[in-house]
Amino acid sequence: MLIGLLILSEYIFLEPYVAGHIPKGTEIGFLLIIVLSGLSALVLPMNIYRINILKNSSGKIGGSVLGSFVGAAAGACSCGPIGFAIISTFGSVGATSLAFLTNYELPIRIAAIGLLAITYFTTVKSLKIECKLNPQ
């Protein structure tokens, strides 16, 4: 996810040569992508584990998937090929929603990180209870 987001947000380029850069003024965006990817990497597997192994409710994975998806969508689609495809397909409606995602890129990413953090703590809490060894 980290590599994918860095490519979509144009911090890494694969063609014509592999190159990376952090343009001046985009350092916060770069940092938020790293935090978002790190949290997603923690929260998603934890919830998949809960569902697969413990056969528990899938309620919390909704938060983690939503957080990861919204965080990834914000800013990843401004001037890039995804944005171009959205505008070409959906016209002015696509352009308006794209402008919203771009204009509020940082707040949306921070909200997504908040959502992932809440999901992380609630998942850890429930795992502590569910995985508690019964000494008897």
């Binding site: 040569y17 985009t26 401004s78 001037c79 090929p81």
Partner: protein, 221 residues
């Protein structure tokens, strides 16, 4: 007989008005444009004037949008080094072709740049737009009033500029550039086509760093 004469008269009048309208619009749109200008496979006839030496062996064609943040980043972070080492030294020149797709103010900003070109200030206006870009797409920084204010700050003849912008004189020119960009599969801004001395071409997208341009252009020279 009289009726026939009236009908023929009306038809002749309609044809005459149509011909006059099409002549006047084409003469307004394409004044001082070299319609045969191409760089590699890209028709740059409707694009910007050439920045740098027109006879430079390499041409960088930039498909861009004035509201695009990646274009802004490239303009401020990497273009200065490219200008200093390649354009100012006569090794390369640059043509900007509008791919104005991000919002309703994008095509207007592109049109305004050509209105500034009418008064010989294209690149000054282009630079001013990228220096004035704000973070919000269609947030008002490139609306018609602000575009006129930019022209005023450059000391342009406001009567000429306003009549040019309000009449939509260059809307077809911008549309042509957008279709030219799409024809070359430009699906993001900025997209670059670097055309070498033997018409060899390298196309890539994104506001890529100076090192990428250097590598490509040094291989071409």
């Amino acid at each position: 007989m009289k009726k026939k004469g009236i009908i023929i008269g009306v038809i002749v009048a309609v044809i005459a008005i149509g011909a006059a309208a099409s002549y006047s619009s084409s003469s307004v749109e394409y004044t001082n444009l070299d319609m045969s200008r191409t760089h590699g496979t890209v028709s740059t006839a409707m694009g910007s004037p050439i920045l740098g030496d027109p006879d430079a062996p390499i041409t960088i064609v930039e498909f861009g949008d004035y509201q695009c943040h990646a274009c802004y980043n490239w303009f401020h972070t990497h273009k200065p080094a490219i200008y200093e080492n390649y354009i100012a030294t006569g090794k390369a020149n640059l043509v900007f072709v509008d791919l104005a797709f991000l919002g309703r103010d994008s095509p207007t900003a592109s049109q305004a740049s050509y209105c500034a070109e009418d008064q010989g200030m294209y690149w000054e206006y282009h630079d001013l737009l990228y220096n004035s870009q704000e973070s919000k797409i269609d947030g008002g920084w490139a609306n018609s009033e602000r575009l006129k204010a930019f022209a005023f700050s450059l000391g342009l003849d406001m009567e000429l500029f306003e009549s040019c912008l309000d009449s939509g004189k260059y809307s077809k020119r911008v549309q042509y550039n957008i279709s030219e960009a799409k024809k070359h599969s430009a699906r993001a801004t900025p997209t670059f086509v670097i055309v070498g001395p033997e018409n060899q071409q390298e196309q890539f997208q994104g506001g890529q760093p100076y090192s990428t341009f250097k590598q490509i252009m040094d291989n071409m020279i």
